[in-house]
Symmetry: C2
Subunit: 235 residues, 2 copies
DNA sequence: AGCCCCAATATTGGATACAATCAAGCATGA
DNA sequence: TCATGCTTGATTGTATCCAATATTGGGGCT
Protein backbone atom coordinates (compact mmCIF):
# COMPACT_ATOMS: atom_id res chain seq x y z
CA UNK A 1 0.00 0.00 0.00
CA UNK A 2 2.00 2.87 1.33
CA UNK A 3 5.12 3.44 -0.66
CA UNK A 4 7.82 4.43 1.75
CA UNK A 5 10.26 5.16 -1.04
CA UNK A 6 10.58 8.90 -1.32
CA UNK A 7 12.80 8.59 -4.30
CA UNK A 8 16.01 6.90 -5.10
CA UNK A 9 17.66 6.35 -1.74
CA UNK A 10 14.59 4.88 -0.13
CA UNK A 11 14.03 2.42 -2.92
CA UNK A 12 17.70 1.49 -2.95
CA UNK A 13 17.56 0.77 0.75
CA UNK A 14 14.54 -1.41 0.18
CA UNK A 15 16.06 -3.28 -2.71
CA UNK A 16 19.32 -3.93 -0.90
CA UNK A 17 17.40 -4.97 2.16
CA UNK A 18 15.32 -7.40 0.13
CA UNK A 19 18.41 -8.98 -1.35
CA UNK A 20 19.88 -9.40 2.08
CA UNK A 21 16.67 -10.92 3.31
CA UNK A 22 16.55 -13.25 0.33
CA UNK A 23 20.04 -14.43 1.13
CA UNK A 24 21.77 -12.98 -1.88
CA UNK A 25 24.17 -11.20 0.44
CA UNK A 26 24.55 -13.58 3.36
CA UNK A 27 25.37 -12.39 6.87
CA UNK A 28 28.96 -11.37 7.32
CA UNK A 29 29.49 -10.67 3.66
CA UNK A 30 30.82 -7.26 2.73
CA UNK A 31 28.73 -4.71 0.85
CA UNK A 32 31.06 -2.89 -1.49
CA UNK A 33 29.79 0.50 -2.40
CA UNK A 34 31.15 0.44 -5.89
CA UNK A 35 29.72 -3.00 -6.63
CA UNK A 36 26.29 -1.93 -5.42
CA UNK A 37 26.58 1.30 -7.36
CA UNK A 38 27.25 -0.62 -10.53
CA UNK A 39 24.54 -3.15 -9.82
CA UNK A 40 21.91 -0.46 -9.45
CA UNK A 41 23.40 1.80 -12.07
CA UNK A 42 23.88 4.78 -9.81
CA UNK A 43 26.87 6.46 -8.24
CA UNK A 44 28.19 5.69 -4.80
CA UNK A 45 26.54 8.70 -3.23
CA UNK A 46 22.97 7.42 -2.99
CA UNK A 47 24.27 3.96 -2.16
CA UNK A 48 26.06 5.34 0.85
CA UNK A 49 22.93 7.08 2.05
CA UNK A 50 20.92 3.90 1.66
CA UNK A 51 23.54 2.00 3.62
CA UNK A 52 23.34 4.57 6.40
CA UNK A 53 19.65 3.94 6.66
CA UNK A 54 20.13 0.22 6.82
CA UNK A 55 22.77 0.77 9.46
CA UNK A 56 20.36 2.82 11.55
CA UNK A 57 17.80 0.05 11.25
CA UNK A 58 20.30 -2.54 12.36
CA UNK A 59 20.31 -4.50 9.12
CA UNK A 60 23.99 -3.97 8.48
CA UNK A 61 27.06 -3.08 10.47
CA UNK A 62 29.40 -0.31 9.53
CA UNK A 63 33.08 -0.57 10.36
CA UNK A 64 34.93 2.71 9.94
CA UNK A 65 37.07 2.70 6.84
CA UNK A 66 36.22 -0.89 6.17
CA UNK A 67 32.75 -0.58 4.87
CA UNK A 68 29.54 -2.36 5.63
CA UNK A 69 28.85 -6.01 6.24
CA UNK A 70 25.54 -7.77 6.52
CA UNK A 71 24.88 -8.09 10.19
CA UNK A 72 25.45 -11.56 11.55
CA UNK A 73 23.44 -12.62 14.57
CA UNK A 74 24.68 -14.68 17.44
CA UNK A 75 22.45 -16.62 19.78
CA UNK A 76 22.22 -13.83 22.29
CA UNK A 77 21.23 -11.32 19.69
CA UNK A 78 18.48 -13.56 18.41
CA UNK A 79 17.21 -14.16 21.89
CA UNK A 80 17.07 -10.41 22.44
CA UNK A 81 15.31 -9.74 19.18
CA UNK A 82 12.71 -12.44 19.67
CA UNK A 83 11.95 -11.26 23.16
CA UNK A 84 11.22 -7.85 21.74
CA UNK A 85 9.33 -9.18 18.77
CA UNK A 86 7.15 -11.37 20.95
CA UNK A 87 6.32 -8.35 23.03
CA UNK A 88 5.57 -6.09 20.09
CA UNK A 89 3.47 -8.57 18.20
CA UNK A 90 1.74 -9.41 21.43
CA UNK A 91 0.80 -5.78 21.79
CA UNK A 92 -0.21 -5.66 18.15
CA UNK A 93 -2.62 -8.52 18.43
CA UNK A 94 -4.11 -7.35 21.70
CA UNK A 95 -4.86 -4.03 20.02
CA UNK A 96 -6.06 -5.76 16.88
CA UNK A 97 -8.42 -8.00 18.82
CA UNK A 98 -10.70 -5.10 19.48
CA UNK A 99 -10.96 -3.61 16.03
CA UNK A 100 -10.24 -6.39 13.61
CA UNK A 101 -12.87 -6.79 10.89
CA UNK A 102 -14.45 -9.97 9.64
CA UNK A 103 -12.77 -9.42 6.32
CA UNK A 104 -9.37 -9.30 8.02
CA UNK A 105 -10.12 -12.42 9.99
CA UNK A 106 -11.05 -14.09 6.74
CA UNK A 107 -7.70 -13.07 5.30
CA UNK A 108 -5.96 -14.64 8.27
CA UNK A 109 -7.96 -17.80 7.79
CA UNK A 110 -6.96 -17.85 4.14
CA UNK A 111 -3.29 -17.45 4.97
CA UNK A 112 -3.57 -20.10 7.62
CA UNK A 113 -5.23 -22.51 5.22
CA UNK A 114 -2.48 -22.04 2.65
CA UNK A 115 0.09 -22.32 5.39
CA UNK A 116 -1.27 -25.63 6.58
CA UNK A 117 -1.61 -27.04 3.08
CA UNK A 118 1.99 -26.22 2.26
CA UNK A 119 3.14 -27.86 5.46
CA UNK A 120 1.22 -31.03 4.67
CA UNK A 121 2.66 -31.11 1.20
CA UNK A 122 6.18 -30.60 2.46
CA UNK A 123 5.83 -33.35 5.02
CA UNK A 124 4.41 -35.68 2.40
CA UNK A 125 7.22 -34.81 0.01
CA UNK A 126 9.73 -35.55 2.71
CA UNK A 127 8.34 -38.97 3.28
CA UNK A 128 9.61 -39.97 -0.13
CA UNK A 129 12.65 -37.72 -0.18
CA UNK A 130 13.81 -36.61 3.29
CA UNK A 131 16.15 -34.03 1.83
CA UNK A 132 13.34 -31.89 0.45
CA UNK A 133 13.96 -28.56 2.06
CA UNK A 134 13.41 -25.11 0.75
CA UNK A 135 11.76 -25.93 -2.53
CA UNK A 136 8.14 -25.30 -1.76
CA UNK A 137 8.84 -23.22 1.26
CA UNK A 138 8.68 -19.73 -0.23
CA UNK A 139 4.91 -19.95 -0.32
CA UNK A 140 5.02 -20.91 3.31
CA UNK A 141 7.01 -17.83 4.17
CA UNK A 142 4.58 -15.79 2.18
CA UNK A 143 1.47 -17.05 3.89
CA UNK A 144 3.17 -16.82 7.27
CA UNK A 145 3.98 -13.19 6.54
CA UNK A 146 0.43 -12.57 5.38
CA UNK A 147 -0.90 -13.99 8.59
CA UNK A 148 1.24 -11.76 10.75
CA UNK A 149 0.82 -8.73 8.54
CA UNK A 150 -2.93 -8.74 8.93
CA UNK A 151 -2.48 -8.56 12.69
CA UNK A 152 0.04 -5.78 12.50
CA UNK A 153 -2.17 -3.89 10.11
CA UNK A 154 -5.23 -4.36 12.28
CA UNK A 155 -3.41 -3.04 15.33
CA UNK A 156 -3.86 0.44 13.93
CA UNK A 157 -0.57 1.55 15.41
CA UNK A 158 1.73 2.91 12.73
CA UNK A 159 4.77 3.15 14.91
CA UNK A 160 4.37 -0.42 16.04
CA UNK A 161 3.95 -1.55 12.48
CA UNK A 162 7.14 0.14 11.42
CA UNK A 163 9.15 -1.25 14.32
CA UNK A 164 8.02 -4.82 13.77
CA UNK A 165 8.78 -4.52 10.11
CA UNK A 166 12.28 -3.21 10.79
CA UNK A 167 12.92 -5.95 13.29
CA UNK A 168 11.77 -8.53 10.80
CA UNK A 169 14.05 -7.18 8.10
CA UNK A 170 17.06 -7.66 10.32
CA UNK A 171 17.04 -11.40 9.76
CA UNK A 172 17.31 -13.42 6.62
CA UNK A 173 14.59 -15.64 5.31
CA UNK A 174 16.84 -18.66 5.53
CA UNK A 175 17.67 -18.05 9.15
CA UNK A 176 14.05 -17.84 10.15
CA UNK A 177 13.19 -20.94 8.22
CA UNK A 178 16.09 -23.05 9.27
CA UNK A 179 14.87 -24.04 12.68
CA UNK A 180 11.26 -24.45 11.73
CA UNK A 181 11.61 -26.59 8.65
CA UNK A 182 13.75 -29.08 10.49
CA UNK A 183 11.13 -31.71 10.93
CA UNK A 184 7.43 -32.32 10.63
CA UNK A 185 6.78 -31.93 14.32
CA UNK A 186 8.06 -28.35 14.40
CA UNK A 187 6.02 -27.44 11.39
CA UNK A 188 2.84 -28.90 12.76
CA UNK A 189 3.53 -27.17 16.04
CA UNK A 190 3.63 -23.93 14.13
CA UNK A 191 0.37 -24.61 12.39
CA UNK A 192 -1.25 -25.42 15.70
CA UNK A 193 0.03 -22.22 17.25
CA UNK A 194 -1.40 -20.18 14.42
CA UNK A 195 -4.64 -22.01 14.88
CA UNK A 196 -4.76 -21.01 18.52
CA UNK A 197 -4.01 -17.39 17.65
CA UNK A 198 -6.70 -17.39 15.03
CA UNK A 199 -9.27 -18.86 17.37
CA UNK A 200 -8.58 -16.26 20.03
CA UNK A 201 -8.69 -13.28 17.75
CA UNK A 202 -11.77 -14.55 15.96
CA UNK A 203 -13.65 -14.21 19.23
CA UNK A 204 -11.97 -10.85 19.86
CA UNK A 205 -10.23 -11.99 23.00
CA UNK A 206 -7.20 -9.73 23.49
CA UNK A 207 -5.79 -11.54 26.49
CA UNK A 208 -5.79 -15.02 25.03
CA UNK A 209 -4.75 -13.78 21.60
CA UNK A 210 -1.77 -12.06 23.12
CA UNK A 211 -0.81 -15.10 25.14
CA UNK A 212 -0.99 -17.29 22.07
CA UNK A 213 1.02 -14.86 19.98
CA UNK A 214 3.84 -14.27 22.44
CA UNK A 215 4.06 -17.97 23.08
CA UNK A 216 4.26 -18.63 19.37
CA UNK A 217 7.04 -16.16 18.81
CA UNK A 218 9.04 -16.96 21.91
CA UNK A 219 8.87 -20.62 20.98
CA UNK A 220 10.11 -19.84 17.47
CA UNK A 221 12.97 -17.88 18.95
CA UNK A 222 13.86 -20.72 21.28
CA UNK A 223 13.97 -23.16 18.43
CA UNK A 224 16.09 -20.82 16.41
CA UNK A 225 18.62 -20.32 19.18
CA UNK A 226 18.66 -23.99 19.91
CA UNK A 227 19.18 -24.82 16.24
CA UNK A 228 21.82 -22.17 15.88
CA UNK A 229 23.87 -23.43 18.78
CA UNK A 230 23.62 -26.93 17.41
CA UNK A 231 24.54 -26.07 13.86
CA UNK A 232 27.12 -23.58 14.94
CA UNK A 233 27.15 -21.46 11.80
CA UNK A 234 25.30 -18.30 11.11
CA UNK A 235 23.13 -17.61 8.13
CA UNK B 1 30.51 4.16 28.14
CA UNK B 2 29.71 2.70 24.78
CA UNK B 3 30.51 5.13 22.03
CA UNK B 4 28.16 4.47 19.20
CA UNK B 5 29.86 7.03 17.01
CA UNK B 6 31.98 5.20 14.48
CA UNK B 7 33.40 8.39 13.19
CA UNK B 8 32.10 11.56 11.70
CA UNK B 9 28.65 10.68 10.45
CA UNK B 10 27.63 8.91 13.62
CA UNK B 11 28.71 11.76 15.81
CA UNK B 12 27.02 14.26 13.54
CA UNK B 13 23.78 12.33 13.78
CA UNK B 14 24.09 12.36 17.54
CA UNK B 15 24.86 16.04 17.75
CA UNK B 16 22.02 17.00 15.46
CA UNK B 17 19.72 14.71 17.36
CA UNK B 18 20.72 16.28 20.64
CA UNK B 19 20.03 19.74 19.34
CA UNK B 20 16.62 18.62 18.17
CA UNK B 21 15.91 17.05 21.52
CA UNK B 22 17.06 20.17 23.31
CA UNK B 23 14.67 22.24 21.24
CA UNK B 24 17.20 24.18 19.25
CA UNK B 25 15.54 22.98 16.09
CA UNK B 26 11.87 22.75 17.00
CA UNK B 27 9.47 20.31 15.33
CA UNK B 28 8.48 21.36 11.84
CA UNK B 29 11.53 23.49 11.32
CA UNK B 30 13.62 22.79 8.25
CA UNK B 31 17.13 21.38 8.47
CA UNK B 32 19.13 22.97 5.70
CA UNK B 33 22.04 20.89 4.66
CA UNK B 34 24.28 23.82 3.94
CA UNK B 35 23.53 25.49 7.23
CA UNK B 36 24.30 22.32 9.15
CA UNK B 37 27.41 21.80 7.10
CA UNK B 38 28.65 25.22 8.02
CA UNK B 39 27.68 24.82 11.65
CA UNK B 40 29.68 21.65 12.00
CA UNK B 41 32.42 22.73 9.64
CA UNK B 42 32.10 19.86 7.21
CA UNK B 43 30.75 19.49 3.72
CA UNK B 44 27.19 18.56 2.90
CA UNK B 45 28.04 14.95 2.18
CA UNK B 46 28.40 13.63 5.73
CA UNK B 47 25.50 15.82 6.82
CA UNK B 48 23.26 14.15 4.30
CA UNK B 49 24.28 10.73 5.54
CA UNK B 50 23.61 11.73 9.12
CA UNK B 51 20.20 13.00 8.11
CA UNK B 52 19.44 9.69 6.45
CA UNK B 53 20.16 7.94 9.71
CA UNK B 54 17.91 10.26 11.63
CA UNK B 55 15.25 9.70 9.02
CA UNK B 56 15.50 5.94 9.46
CA UNK B 57 15.15 6.38 13.19
CA UNK B 58 12.08 8.53 12.75
CA UNK B 59 13.57 11.67 14.23
CA UNK B 60 13.13 13.71 11.07
CA UNK B 61 11.03 13.58 7.95
CA UNK B 62 12.42 13.78 4.50
CA UNK B 63 10.39 15.35 1.73
CA UNK B 64 11.79 14.71 -1.73
CA UNK B 65 13.50 17.75 -3.15
CA UNK B 66 12.43 19.78 -0.18
CA UNK B 67 14.80 18.55 2.42
CA UNK B 68 14.38 17.46 5.97
CA UNK B 69 12.20 18.85 8.73
CA UNK B 70 12.13 17.95 12.37
CA UNK B 71 9.31 15.51 12.78
CA UNK B 72 6.23 16.96 14.37
CA UNK B 73 3.98 14.66 16.31
CA UNK B 74 0.23 14.71 16.35
CA UNK B 75 -1.88 13.20 19.09
CA UNK B 76 -2.30 9.92 17.32
CA UNK B 77 1.40 9.53 16.78
CA UNK B 78 2.12 10.16 20.42
CA UNK B 79 -0.51 7.70 21.48
CA UNK B 80 1.09 5.10 19.22
CA UNK B 81 4.57 5.80 20.49
CA UNK B 82 3.60 5.68 24.12
CA UNK B 83 1.76 2.43 23.70
CA UNK B 84 4.91 0.95 22.28
CA UNK B 85 7.15 2.54 24.84
CA UNK B 86 5.00 1.30 27.70
CA UNK B 87 5.24 -2.16 26.29
CA UNK B 88 8.98 -2.07 25.75
CA UNK B 89 9.83 -0.57 29.11
CA UNK B 90 7.43 -3.00 30.67
CA UNK B 91 9.38 -5.82 29.13
CA UNK B 92 12.63 -4.18 30.18
CA UNK B 93 11.67 -3.98 33.82
CA UNK B 94 10.24 -7.47 33.95
CA UNK B 95 13.55 -8.75 32.64
CA UNK B 96 15.48 -6.45 34.93
CA UNK B 97 13.55 -7.60 37.98
CA UNK B 98 15.32 -10.91 37.93
CA UNK B 99 18.90 -9.77 37.53
CA UNK B 100 19.07 -6.28 38.89
CA UNK B 101 21.85 -5.76 41.43
CA UNK B 102 21.66 -3.97 44.75
CA UNK B 103 23.99 -1.35 43.39
CA UNK B 104 21.61 -0.67 40.51
CA UNK B 105 18.66 -0.48 42.84
CA UNK B 106 20.62 2.02 44.90
CA UNK B 107 21.19 4.09 41.78
CA UNK B 108 17.47 4.08 41.12
CA UNK B 109 16.82 5.17 44.68
CA UNK B 110 19.32 7.98 44.25
CA UNK B 111 17.68 9.18 41.06
CA UNK B 112 14.28 8.93 42.67
CA UNK B 113 15.44 10.95 45.66
CA UNK B 114 16.78 13.71 43.46
CA UNK B 115 13.64 13.55 41.38
CA UNK B 116 11.42 14.03 44.35
CA UNK B 117 13.50 16.83 45.81
CA UNK B 118 13.38 18.76 42.56
CA UNK B 119 9.63 18.36 42.38
CA UNK B 120 9.21 19.67 45.92
CA UNK B 121 11.40 22.63 45.14
CA UNK B 122 9.54 23.41 41.96
CA UNK B 123 6.20 23.24 43.69
CA UNK B 124 7.46 25.48 46.48
CA UNK B 125 8.85 27.94 43.96
CA UNK B 126 5.51 28.03 42.20
CA UNK B 127 3.73 28.92 45.35
CA UNK B 128 5.43 32.29 45.27
CA UNK B 129 5.66 32.61 41.52
CA UNK B 130 3.20 30.47 39.59
CA UNK B 131 4.94 31.09 36.30
CA UNK B 132 8.07 29.20 37.33
CA UNK B 133 8.35 26.58 34.68
CA UNK B 134 11.38 25.08 33.08
CA UNK B 135 14.05 26.72 35.15
CA UNK B 136 14.98 23.99 37.55
CA UNK B 137 13.51 21.28 35.46
CA UNK B 138 16.59 20.08 33.57
CA UNK B 139 17.78 18.27 36.65
CA UNK B 140 14.40 16.64 36.83
CA UNK B 141 14.72 15.36 33.30
CA UNK B 142 18.15 14.11 34.12
CA UNK B 143 17.17 12.14 37.17
CA UNK B 144 14.12 10.82 35.40
CA UNK B 145 16.34 9.58 32.61
CA UNK B 146 18.73 8.06 35.12
CA UNK B 147 15.90 6.21 36.72
CA UNK B 148 14.69 4.70 33.48
CA UNK B 149 18.17 4.08 32.15
CA UNK B 150 19.08 1.85 35.05
CA UNK B 151 16.10 -0.33 34.25
CA UNK B 152 16.89 -0.50 30.58
CA UNK B 153 20.50 -1.29 31.35
CA UNK B 154 19.55 -3.98 33.83
CA UNK B 155 17.28 -5.67 31.33
CA UNK B 156 20.37 -7.06 29.66
CA UNK B 157 18.72 -6.88 26.27
CA UNK B 158 20.77 -4.79 23.88
CA UNK B 159 18.19 -4.66 21.15
CA UNK B 160 15.56 -3.50 23.57
CA UNK B 161 17.87 -0.85 24.91
CA UNK B 162 18.54 0.51 21.46
CA UNK B 163 14.89 0.59 20.48
CA UNK B 164 13.80 2.40 23.61
CA UNK B 165 16.56 4.89 23.17
CA UNK B 166 15.59 5.58 19.56
CA UNK B 167 11.98 5.96 20.53
CA UNK B 168 12.93 8.42 23.24
CA UNK B 169 15.00 10.49 20.85
CA UNK B 170 12.03 11.00 18.60
CA UNK B 171 10.50 13.50 20.97
CA UNK B 172 11.79 16.76 22.28
CA UNK B 173 12.53 17.44 25.89
CA UNK B 174 10.01 20.24 25.97
CA UNK B 175 7.23 18.09 24.63
CA UNK B 176 7.78 15.45 27.24
CA UNK B 177 7.89 17.96 30.00
CA UNK B 178 4.99 20.07 28.94
CA UNK B 179 2.21 17.90 30.19
CA UNK B 180 3.91 16.79 33.35
CA UNK B 181 5.05 20.13 34.67
CA UNK B 182 1.60 21.59 34.36
CA UNK B 183 0.71 21.43 37.99
CA UNK B 184 1.83 20.00 41.29
CA UNK B 185 -0.63 17.16 41.22
CA UNK B 186 0.79 15.71 38.02
CA UNK B 187 4.30 15.98 39.34
CA UNK B 188 3.50 14.26 42.60
CA UNK B 189 1.62 11.61 40.69
CA UNK B 190 4.81 10.95 38.78
CA UNK B 191 6.86 10.70 41.92
CA UNK B 192 4.39 8.27 43.40
CA UNK B 193 4.45 6.13 40.28
CA UNK B 194 8.22 5.95 40.39
CA UNK B 195 7.95 4.98 44.01
CA UNK B 196 5.68 2.09 43.17
CA UNK B 197 8.02 0.92 40.44
CA UNK B 198 10.96 1.12 42.79
CA UNK B 199 9.20 -0.84 45.49
CA UNK B 200 8.27 -3.63 43.09
CA UNK B 201 11.67 -4.00 41.53
CA UNK B 202 13.41 -3.80 44.90
CA UNK B 203 11.64 -7.01 45.85
CA UNK B 204 12.39 -8.47 42.41
CA UNK B 205 8.76 -8.83 41.48
CA UNK B 206 8.60 -8.83 37.67
CA UNK B 207 4.81 -8.88 37.41
CA UNK B 208 4.12 -5.95 39.70
CA UNK B 209 7.11 -4.01 38.42
CA UNK B 210 5.85 -4.36 34.89
CA UNK B 211 2.35 -3.33 35.83
CA UNK B 212 3.65 -0.25 37.61
CA UNK B 213 5.91 0.68 34.72
CA UNK B 214 3.37 0.30 31.94
CA UNK B 215 0.82 2.18 33.98
CA UNK B 216 3.32 4.97 34.57
CA UNK B 217 4.16 5.35 30.92
CA UNK B 218 0.65 4.97 29.57
CA UNK B 219 -0.51 7.58 32.02
CA UNK B 220 2.23 9.96 30.92
CA UNK B 221 1.19 9.41 27.34
CA UNK B 222 -2.43 10.10 28.17
CA UNK B 223 -1.55 13.35 29.86
CA UNK B 224 0.59 14.34 26.94
CA UNK B 225 -2.15 13.68 24.41
CA UNK B 226 -4.66 15.41 26.56
CA UNK B 227 -2.42 18.42 27.01
CA UNK B 228 -1.60 18.49 23.32
CA UNK B 229 -5.22 18.50 22.24
CA UNK B 230 -5.92 21.26 24.70
CA UNK B 231 -2.99 23.45 23.77
CA UNK B 232 -3.34 22.71 20.11
CA UNK B 233 0.21 23.44 19.10
CA UNK B 234 3.08 21.11 18.68
CA UNK B 235 6.48 21.45 20.23
C1' DA C 1 -7.13 44.50 -5.93
C1' DG C 2 -6.54 39.82 -7.04
C1' DC C 3 -4.79 36.14 -9.84
C1' DC C 4 -1.75 33.77 -12.88
C1' DC C 5 2.35 32.98 -15.21
C1' DC C 6 7.13 33.21 -15.70
C1' DA C 7 11.77 34.21 -14.42
C1' DA C 8 15.21 34.29 -10.82
C1' DT C 9 16.97 32.11 -6.86
C1' DA C 10 17.69 28.83 -3.40
C1' DT C 11 18.07 24.07 -2.27
C1' DT C 12 18.31 19.39 -2.91
C1' DG C 13 19.95 15.18 -5.65
C1' DG C 14 23.53 12.70 -7.91
C1' DA C 15 28.11 12.19 -10.09
C1' DT C 16 32.74 12.86 -9.96
C1' DA C 17 37.29 14.00 -8.12
C1' DC C 18 40.50 13.70 -4.67
C1' DA C 19 42.39 12.57 -0.03
C1' DA C 20 42.79 9.33 3.81
C1' DT C 21 42.95 4.81 5.47
C1' DC C 22 43.38 -0.04 5.57
C1' DA C 23 44.92 -4.87 4.00
C1' DA C 24 47.89 -7.76 1.60
C1' DG C 25 51.88 -9.13 -0.06
C1' DC C 26 56.63 -8.85 -0.65
C1' DA C 27 61.23 -8.08 0.40
C1' DT C 28 64.64 -7.87 3.92
C1' DG C 29 67.27 -9.30 7.70
C1' DA C 30 68.07 -11.64 12.10
C1' DT D 1 62.09 -19.89 9.10
C1' DC D 2 59.84 -16.27 11.01
C1' DA D 3 59.21 -11.63 12.24
C1' DT D 4 59.16 -6.83 10.64
C1' DG D 5 58.51 -2.97 7.99
C1' DC D 6 57.51 -0.95 3.59
C1' DT D 7 55.07 -0.50 -0.64
C1' DT D 8 51.14 -0.94 -3.43
C1' DG D 9 46.44 -1.62 -4.53
C1' DA D 10 41.80 -1.41 -3.12
C1' DT D 11 38.17 0.93 -0.66
C1' DT D 12 36.16 4.16 2.07
C1' DG D 13 35.48 9.19 3.43
C1' DT D 14 34.92 14.03 2.21
C1' DA D 15 34.60 17.83 -0.84
C1' DT D 16 33.19 19.92 -4.95
C1' DC D 17 30.66 20.28 -9.23
C1' DC D 18 26.67 20.21 -12.09
C1' DA D 19 21.85 19.08 -12.97
C1' DA D 20 17.08 18.78 -11.45
C1' DT D 21 13.50 20.62 -8.79
C1' DA D 22 10.93 23.57 -5.79
C1' DT D 23 10.05 28.30 -3.97
C1' DT D 24 9.63 33.04 -4.29
C1' DG D 25 8.79 37.45 -6.05
C1' DG D 26 7.50 40.54 -9.61
C1' DG D 27 5.01 41.99 -13.73
C1' DG D 28 1.13 41.97 -16.45
C1' DC D 29 -3.60 40.97 -17.28
C1' DT D 30 -8.54 40.96 -16.02
Amino acid sequence: MARTADKLVGSLAERISEKIFAGEYPPGSPLRQEALAEEFAVSRTPIREALRQLEAKGVIEHRPNQGAIVRAHDARDIRDAYQVRAELEGLAISLAAEWITDEQIARMRGAQKKFSVVVDKLIAARRSNPKTRLKDVPSWVESNDDFHNVVIEASGNQRLKQMIRDLHQGFTRNLMLSALTMDGRRMRENVAQHEAILAAIARHDPVEARKAMTHHILRSGELLVWWLEREGGLR
